[in-house]
Amino acid sequence: MDIARIDYWAASGGSVMHKASVPSKTLATAAVIATVIIGSYLPLLAALYLMVLISIRAAGLPVVKVMVISVLPGLFTLLFALSKLGGGLLIPVIILLKAFTAASAMILLLSTTPYNEILGFVGKLMPRVLRDGLFMTYRSFFILLNLMNNFITALRLRGGFQPKKFWRNSGNIGSGVGILFINAYDKSQRLYDVMSIRGYSGRLSGTHRYRAVSANDLPYLLAAAVFLGEAVYAMQSSRQGSLYSFAAVLIVYTFTMEVLRFWKR
């Protein structure tokens, strides 16, 4: 997982995708995932994946790094795909495409939206305890990650990781994890005390203001809607869209995003 890097991209970017409003990006991501779920033929899914990659490029994000991040947690997908080899190669390829497209779309959403905006928006649908828990978890994560990284660096420098010394390595990591849990526990107590002094009464304030809907919202939203429409049509009529039509959509989309990218620079 690369939450720290994704958070940095979200906070530092100023692309068309970054300037789009949270509701429209969330809606577009939902449309991409809905297409992944109901889309069942290769050209549609391949074109959808390309559309997401084009959007990632338009957002000024490193496409290869995002692809790697989306592929890394794919062990389950890989096993699942290998288990389907009995039905030919097509099904495993479709499975991999579905998983990587959905993961890339989610990474694109979080990499172009500051966490307080996205959690504030998502949190509207949840009980307060979950919303506050989400905020607190996200904020605490970076503090603890920093502590863990320092610990691992110190451990490496002092020869704490040695090849073929499973129990010794586990003991060192385990003690580090133990220290971190104690640290986290103490910090949570202190955090509550500090929050109480500052007037915390069981309600954390999050951002409920988002960017207004603008022209920046349209390209990604429209492209996602086109693919969803095609997936629904294909499902109902059992007719698949032609390769030419997908190529045309992708060319128009790429052109639009590139123009916006240079214009907004």
Partner: protein
């Protein structure tokens, strides 16, 4: 290995919708059980412990990453652990680590680890030292959660259209072995046997690492701050 995050688009809609409903019920029940607890005080702890799970998942130890769901369950207790597992899965789905639609199913698997880890640890520690209890509880819990994950995958490969036909009825009315063979190799060429063997083979390495790390961590906490794991110093 139990910590396999199911991505979007692989499982049938009925299954992930059922998963979302089941997770909502499980988390709702957990919150109901916590109704007498002052949750204001627990929010920072909940956040920190959920963040610890995320930190554990961020650190790659060999190609496997730690889970820390059992130790989180031991510290938070079963009800808060279930809430924490939903928070962790929601955040992970936002970074493409597991699907959004399958947050419910993933929450059930990770939440199960927290709850079962807490229960087994409570049982084992009556007879064993905390570190050993934690190791045994972690290993058993991860084995069971891998079985749960396999059950989910198996359910996802049952073709509901076939289930209403006479073909399946005939198979079900035949020998148990015939029925077992039918369900293992069903669902568009899906080989559940291969999937199960691969999951258990890789899982064994993961369970061992996780159990060792959890045991050392709990042993350390028991020496330094035992009240965190429920023992008064």
């Amino acid at each position: 290995m139990s910590h396999l995050h199911i991505p979007d688009g692989l499982l049938p809609v009925w299954l992930w919708v059922a998963g979302l409903a089941a997770a909502a019920i499980a988390v709702g029940f957990s919150l109901f059980m916590l109704r007498k607890v002052d949750l204001r005080k627990k929010i920072p702890l909940l956040g920190m412990m959920s963040a610890m799970m995320l930190v554990g998942m961020s650190i790659e130890v060999v190609p496997y990453h730690l889970n820390l769901s059992v130790i989180t369950g031991i510290i938070l207790g079963p009800w808060l652990a279930m809430v924490a597992s939903l928070i962790v899965n929601l955040l992970m789905s936002l970074v493409g680590h597991g699907g959004v639609t399958v947050v419910g199913l993933n929450t059930l698997v990770i939440g199960f680890e927290g709850v079962m880890g807490y229960i087994l640890f409570s049982i084992f520690r009556k007879a064993l030292k905390p570190a050993l209890s934690a190791a045994a509880a972690t290993f058993l819990t991860l084995f069971m959660s891998t079985c749960l994950m396999l059950l989910i995958v198996f359910l996802g490969n049952i073709d509901l259209n076939i289930a209403s036909t006479s073909e399946l009825r005939e198979v079900m009315e035949s020998t148990p072995a015939g029925f077992a063979k039918h369900i293992i190799y069903s669902g568009g060429g899906f080989n559940l046997k291969f999937f199960a063997i691969a999951s258990f083979a890789m899982g064994l390495i993961g369970w061992t690492i996780e159990s060792a790390v959890t045991a050392f961590a709990v042993g350390f906490i028991d020496k330094v701050k035992p009240d965190i794991i429920g023992r008064r110093s």
